[in-house]
């Protein structure tokens, strides 16, 4: 597998877009100031689009229209895979539009409902229900208000008509047909004013139940700690919405549905407990202490059958179920032998999760803007509060940094790379060290590895122009003109952003 210009540019783009999604998923209310993230990500995709375009492989990512930029004929809601012509730079504006509505009104019901109604008309009611939940997973809506309101009105609208395709007539003043009309359609004044009832409500309850259970399955299939943590954030919201909605729709649920709701409630509580301690405590490194505590409780209750019960409760993802067979799992103090992708958050996810979870943009006072070894403690503190931020660790990285600089001056790239490789194993989120490490690899003509390290640094902190310059140099060295232009444009955009 060789290094490709298009492939590498796509990887960075995909990473930046995933960061947007993660920020939306993690936020529980109004998002922190995301202007910089939006500006930089949009600059990246504009640069790509001006230099040949790109196709991203994110089939499950939904989109929702934003009024200012959408082409008149474009559908107002759907999935990226359905609309290959959709420009990602425009999609980024949708995040901006939806997040701004949350900030101003506490929800973004209107565009979410319009898009879902559009999907109900074209793909049917089950697809529309699923789409609304996918908007949450796709990072556009935070908290429960948007979903609750949009689901409630979609179901109400569907109850008023005979067919899925007629839902527009129930919701809008004049039933629109074309996408452009749909966008400007006015909601009827009495929308949602009467009670929804009938078989559509039963269907809706089952569809919501099915969607929630599918998401639980999806969480079980997580392949990395990133996925696992992000699933917890999404599930906590989706299950809360699901339980409330089903409660409204089914006043007397059948016993089997009630059992499913009970399990959902337990998993929702577990999901909330999973990330609650991280707000003030360890974050970047994997934390399975609650899962271990719950396992011990289940063992005490169920005896030999505890693992089956633990599996239902999603104590562990499928990929780590084998840990339950290890005696160390139930002795809370013993270290776990975790695969590398389960040891903590990746560089790519550390930044958006920290920003969203702490509910604010990192500022110099909160110390994530730390580019020099002297400011190392800043990075350690905000990149991983209480994650080995003692004086010894600071000294360890400072010493390594000085030794690496010495190696650089001597022209000993291999020695410099070895020093930084070691320090990065202990402090993987320290992006200045990673950029320096990439420099050494570039000098050794190891471009593929250099790109891999640079990507981690870029996504770990995308606002440092120097990192983009380093990427530009890498593309230059490989004779890849398009990459040079993109990296240069984004670097210039980064320099214009408030740091």
């Amino acid at each position: 597998m060789g290094f490709s210009e298009t492939g590498s540019l796509g990887l960075v783009g995909q990473g930046l877009l995933k960061q947007m999604v993660a920020m939306g998923r993690v936020a529980t209310g109004a998002l922190p100031d995301t202007a910089r993230q939006i500006a930089l990500t949009r600059a990246y995709f504009l640069a790509l689009e001006q230099n040949g375009g790109i196709t991203l492989d994110l089939p499950e990512q939904p989109f929702v229209y934003n009024q200012s930029l959408w082409a008149a004929s474009a559908p107002i809601g759907g999935y990226l895979s359905d609309e290959p012509e959709l420009r990602i730079s425009d999609l980024i504006r949708s995040f901006d539009a939806m997040w701004s509505l949350h900030k101003e009104y506490g929800h973004a019901m209107a565009p979410a409902l319009k898009a879902a109604a559009w999907i109900c008309r074209s793909k049917g009611f089950p697809a529309a229900i699923s789409y609304l939940f996918d908007l949450q997973k796709g990072g556009y809506v935070s908290g429960i208000q948007t979903l609750m309101k949009a689901l409630g009105l979609l179901i109400w609208g569907r109850c008023q008509v005979e067919k899925d395709s007629e839902v527009g007539a129930a919701l809008f003043v004049s039933a629109p047909t074309a996408a452009a009309e749909w966008r400007s359609a006015q909601f009827k004044a009495d929308v949602g004013q009467s009670e929804a009832h009938g078989p559509v409500c039963d269907d809706a309850a089952n569809l919501i139940l099915d969607k929630c259970l599918s998401e639980i399955e999806g969480m079980a299939a997580s392949r990395t700690y990133d996925d696992w943590m992000l699933s917890h954030f999404s599930l906590a919201t989706m299950l809360e919405v699901g339980l409330l909605m089903i409660g409204n729709l089914e006043k007397k649920p059948a016993l089997q549905m009630r059992a499913a709701l009970d399990l959902m409630e337990e998993i929702m509580a577990d999901a909330q407990s999973f990330y609650a301690p991280t707000i003030g405590g360890p974050l970047l490194r994997a934390d399975f202490s609650l899962a271990r505590k719950l396992s011990a409780e289940l063992l005490a209750k169920d005896g030999a059958r505890w693992k089956a019960h633990a599996a239902e409760r999603m104590v562990l993802p499928n990929a780590l179920r084998h840990l339950m067979d290890d005696g160390a799992w139930l002795s809370e103090e013993k270290p776990l032998n975790l695969p590398v992708e389960w040891q903590g958050l990746s560089c790519e996810m550390s930044y958006p999760i920290v920003v969203s979870l702490r509910g604010r943009r990192p500022s110099p006072q909160t110390r994530i803007r730390s580019f020099t070894p002297e400011e190392l403690d800043h990075w350690l503190q905000d990149g991983g509060r209480s994650e080995r931020q003692d004086e010894a660790s600071e000294a360890e990285v400072n010493t390594a940094w000085k030794e690496a600089k010495g190696a650089e001056q001597r022209g000993d790239n291999q020695a410099g790379a070895a020093i930084l490789r070691k320090v990065l194993a202990a402090y993987p989120w320290h992006y200045p060290c990673r950029v320096k490490f990439a420099h050494f690899l570039m000098k050794e003509q190891n471009f593929e590895s250099a790109f891999s390290e640079l990507t981690k640094a870029l996504l770990g902190y995308p606002f440092d122009r120097n990192t983009w310059i380093c990427l530009e140099e890498l593309y230059q060295a490989m004779g890849m003109g398009r990459g040079v232009m993109v990296a240069r444009n984004v670097g210039e955009a980064a320099a214009r952003l408030p740091q």
């Binding site: 089950p126 269907d203 259970l213 599918s214 016993l255 499913a260 399990l263 005896g303 089956a308």
Partner: protein, 230 residues
């Protein structure tokens, strides 16, 4: 559609409004106690069914179950149970497919054994099939209908008919469900086998033990809508 362990259903029936960290039923054996099963009977307003099939030998039944329309077909009044590999709970698109390498001896499958246990000392009923009964605690007769020799489409239509009739008989408030259901089946030319009246709590305890010994789980299916039926 998704699989839900029957144990969770029983727990939900047993617990009132109070909840704790790991559920209300504090020990596993208490799931089959009389008072727990009385709660189950009371809270499930309908009848129970056990669909006995081997996931490989009875492929036509497995395919029907995998299609996911079972909860919509059976409706809220008929709680349908069946066995799956214990790792298949919350499983993916083929929930009842078993791990390859196991299950060569169809005669040993716990689902088959559970039905044979019920008809011990009599001519064993032909499998696959479905057992329908009204209660786990009260003295009740069971009705068994074989699905032997049917293809997937026939399995689907036969089961839908059975569920429809069972629902009607339950709604009619017949004093003795099994008898009235038998009459309804006869009127529809569906052959069945009755068991002697008895209680099913011991049978359930034995069935659960048997399932776990063979690394199976007794489950029900939830979350499908009638419109989605294939």
């Amino acid at each position: 559609m998704k699989l839900l362990p029957f144990r969770s259903v029983v727990e939900s029936a047993a617990q009132g409004d109070s909840k704790n960290f790991t559920g209300t039923v504090t020990d596993f054996e208490s799931l089959t106690k009389q008072e727990t099963l009385e709660q189950l009977d009371r809270q499930h307003q309908g009848v129970f069914a056990f669909l006995a099939f081997h996931p490989i030998a009875d492929e036509q039944v497995r395919k029907y179950v995998d299609s996911g329309s079972l909860p919509a077909d059976s409706g809220r009044k008929i709680l349908v149970l069946f066995t799956v590999d214990e790792n298949a709970t919350w499983g993916g698109s083929t929930p009842v497919m078993e791990v390859p390498g196991f299950e060569f001896e169809t005669a040993d499958h716990p689902a088959y054994q559970m039905i044979r246990d019920l008809y011990e000392g009599k001519v064993p009923p032909s499998l696959p099939g479905i057992l329908i009964f009204e209660s786990f605690v009260h003295t009740t007769g069971t009705v068994y209908i074989s699905l032997e020799g049917l293809d997937e489409t026939q399995v689907r239509s036969r089961l839908r008919k059975i569920f429809e009739l069972a629902g009607h008989v339950y709604d009619s408030g017949a004093l003795e469900f099994a008898g009235a259901f038998g009459v309804a089946l006869t009127q529809n030319k569906i052959a069945y086998l009755r068991s002697e009246p008895g209680t099913l709590s011991e049978w359930l305890a034995k069935a659960w033990r048997l399932a776990w010994e063979k690394k199976k789980e007794i489950v029900t299916m939830v979350g499908s809508v009638a419109k989605a039926v294939l």
